[in-house]
Symmetry: C2
Subunit: 340 residues, 2 copies
DNA sequence: GTGAAAGCGCTAACAT
DNA sequence: ATGTTAGCGCTTTCAC
């Protein structure tokens, strides 16, 4: 293992001072062309790489973004993450990732560990437990220290920071209106994420759409829970009756289980039952029949979040105005809703 | 935005020297109990957090692992990643992530950027393009600088470093033997990843299993490609003939397309056709019928990789022995292979 | 055009 | 038991 190449070392080898070498490498006009070339070539030859920690310490910024994600196994978050990563890299930022696993403690711990000069700011989606407990103290603490936060998808109303969300309310409303247009009379709402802000917003959109077309929200057409076991049992009962001819499913588990149970019950999709779900596009296409989904443009959410954070980081003066960007969703019609 | 709390500041406030404060906070025996308590309480009160960059610079280590992943949207990699993240955090390491997007250039760039004292070592799975070009110079360069690398899943034979792989050869061999035991006569091999090392190993396992039971490898039962379009077209032709009664699919696209095309052709699964695929477990269960898969224990792969890297990082002397850990796979029988 | 020196925040060997 | 000092690698102001 050869010794690390440092400015000092180059300076010694070349019989120059550290500061001259530093300036030469940053192409300063203070340095003569001959020396400049000489230094630069020697550095290249030695494969010199400036030490990031030293630079960070000096500059008081790390060019690193802390990303906290509830669950990377959820394709939605994986996609948002890839958007963040891409946008951040493009602007010269690194990304440190923590997975909260929906745990409030882990989320807090991650922010604590990273706010010690490891990252310049945070992009995060609030852990389930944090939403349930409604504890926002760790966010506020970080903000008080002057470190910016951008929240996406799962946000908290009483935290003042930039946010990137999709219009959950409107998109599920549109989806239900689409089902109505297709002629569905008995549209069920299926949710395993009733403990999340997004789940609640989507449920409200469903109700609004029904009321707008003078229909009632019928209890026997609702499954709102946060337990998959509970959900599965109730779903089987619901579909056994055969009374349902339209479904809006608010999450991946609900969407795919609806498909599965319907197929097992011999219900023809989309002839007898139309299904629209919030789910991953790639896998929805792989199902038979393919599942119509509400596309949330996850990568764009990530890119926008990164853009907002970096903007704040690179603006000279502190901006105390907070933006909430709404990313438009799109209904992707596939075979689970196409009427013949 | 209040000023950052530093040792210096605490020292001034308390009328002590910086080193006394430093020692008091690290609970040194050199410091008297009274001062120790006083300092510690004041630090807590002020919410002091030691600056990570400064500590890193001083210690010449960052407690950070660089992870480079070809594609986080692939559930396999997402799962390995979550394993790495978990194991790393548990040992007090941060994780900086880059997504190579299968690009050789991005992979190289990531290693370049992070090897400048940003991370202590790397965990990575080789980008497709790198495997095709067979360029290992960037790996060797990093290793020469004394920074350890652990490769997982997609490795390169001529790079000397720790590796974590699954036994691709053996697991596809076992899968084919299982199909044979189920009575399949014409077992097809479907692969969209014929450009990857793992794809090639799996294909060899298929051939071995056939030869072991005195069968021939028949060209019309093989689809080996790296293009999904090409694959889809050839798959439709193959299944239209009805000659296939068993399938081993080497990747997610191949697995799910096989299911889809079979269902569309009215082929009964598993009665007329048994399918085993390399695919995500959660989604495989969601398909109807559910898909039998080869489980690769992705999280364990990640945990093992992190364990190996940290071991190397924390060992005093340089270890020049390189381990290759093989994680056992498991055949998960689901409805696509269950004979009635 | 080049160099000396201070300092980013922390640690630790070495005084006192 | 507490303080002084040097130094991690780099940038930058200020001298020469």
């Amino acid at each position: 293992m050869k010794p690390k190449i440092t400015l000092k070392l180059i300076a010694k080898d070349l019989g120059l001072s550290v500061s001259t070498v530093s300036k030469a490498l940053s192409d300063s006009h203070e340095i003569g062309d001959v020396t400049k070339i000489r230094v630069q070539e020697y550095a290249k030859l030695q494969n010199y790489k400036p030490n990031t920690m030293a630079k960070n310490l000096k500059n008081q910024r790390t060019n690193t973004i802390g990303v906290i994600i509830p669950n990377i196994l959820n394709p939605f978050f994986a996609k948002v993450f890839s958007g963040i990563e891409k946008a951040a890299n493009a602007k010269g930022y690194n990304v440190i990732t923590y997975i909260s696993n929906e745990s409030h403690k882990k989320e807090k711990q991650a922010m604590d560990l990273l706010s010690n000069g490891t990252v310049d700011g945070f992009i995060l989606s609030v852990a389930q437990e944090t939403q349930t407990l409604h504890d926002t103290s760790h966010f506020k603490e970080i903000l008080r220290e002057g470190m910016p936060i951008v929240m996406f998808d799962r946000t908290m109303d009483d935290v003042s920071c930039d946010k990137v969300v999709v219009d959950d309310f409107e998109s599920s409303m549109e989806a239900v209106k689409h089902l109505i247009k297709l002629g569905c009379k008995n549209i069920a709402l299926l949710s395993c994420i009733d403990n999340l802000s997004v789940g609640k917003h989507r449920a409200l959109g469903y109700e609004k759409a029904l009321r707008d077309s003078k229909r009632n929200v019928e209890d026997h057409l609702l499954i709102k829970t946060d337990s998959e076991e509970d959900f599965d049992a109730r779903l089987k009962t619901m579909l056994a009756t055969g009374a349902v001819d339209g479904i809006l499913a608010l999450d991946e588990h609900a969407s795919t289980m609806a498909m599965k149970v319907a197929i097992q019950n011999g219900i023809k999709i989309p002839e007898q039952l139309c299904i629209i779900g919030f789910a991953d596009g790639v896998w929805s296409r792989r199902l038979t029949p393919s599942l119509s989904t509400i596309s949330q443009h996850a990568p764009e959410i990530g890119e926008e979040a990164a853009k907002l954070l970096i903007e704040k980081l690179e603006s000279k003066q502190e901006i105390h105005a907070y933006k909430t960007t709404v990313i438009k969703t799109e209904l992707r019609q596939r075979d689970s809703t196409r009427r013949v």
